[in-house]
Amino acid sequence: MTLVRLASAFALLSLTTAELAHAEIPLAERRSGYADMAPETKAMQDDDAANPGMLAVLDGEALWNAKAGTAAKSCADCHGDARSAMKGVAARYPAFEPAQNRPINLDQRINLCRTERQQAPAFPYESRNMLALSAYVGRQSRGEKIAPPDDARLRPHLDAGRERYNVRIGQLNLACNHCHDDNWGKKLAGNVIPQAHPNGYPLYRLEWQSLGSLQRRLRNCMIGMRAEPYAYGALEYVELELYLMWRARGMTIETPAVRP
């Protein structure tokens, strides 16, 4: 009896140790969600005339050049040609914003420009215009390698994001790593579990029939785990984004990607 109890205590102990010593995916084994897609979906992403995300990129280009707000300035008035000025920008967000003393993602950066420089109302999260402009800016980094900024001020937030990724949440009592580090490549219902790399956002998801941000995707996962999602723009999401970008460092940006 004592022996059994002892054995189960050991089993419990080793389980806890295994969880603590949880291994990240080795750099060389990382793969974009693209690799797991059907040939038809890959073809859709590869052809700019078939990728519905490009419709939003066109809308974003129009927004980039349109004057907005009481300052009557367009993005182009300050930044010039997005094709050169915005190249690589999406690859290094989230970044630290000193004025707010926290990291912000690309959408929040765009809205800061809107409210402070253009004196225009911020775009609501997940609105058509928000996604269009962020898809247009993100598109300029297609083919670039993800390069999270080496900024000491981001370190505590990166650690917080990593911790959140590894902490069990929700009624199903799962953490991100249980699917995306330990069981990627296997099936969840009919779908291949991806490694969860944020290298194509905002992306066109066939299930959504629209473009969506990384935070929408995170929200999706949290609802699936029966956890209460954070509000859009919450620091918790941005820290998680920060960790996911760090985890995907060096991978290629595909924005606007297509996913099933």
């Binding site: 519905p52 419709l55 809308d59």
Partner: protein, 106 residues
Amino acid sequence: MARALINVPAKAKRGEVIAIKTLVSHVMESGFRHTNLGAVIPRDIIDTFVCTYNGEEIFRAQLAPAIAANPFIAFHTVATDSGKLEFKWTGDNGFTATEIATITVE
């Protein structure tokens, strides 16, 4: 504003079979969905797509509520003459979108 992406080869040989791809932005709201409060979301779809080649109709499609958002329509035709291909989508709530592509046939 409706956006459309058209892929037509700029040049073709006379008699060659060419592929034409079109993608248009539209929500294609089926009319069968409800809001959280139970109200029906009214149908809002593209119902007709027509392609004319130098004024002659070469392709027509009727779209139904089960078709996904941002309809992608691809088809083939024979390159007969240089000229204009005109694409027109029409639908609910007075929706129309038109795009023109030019082709040079040698």
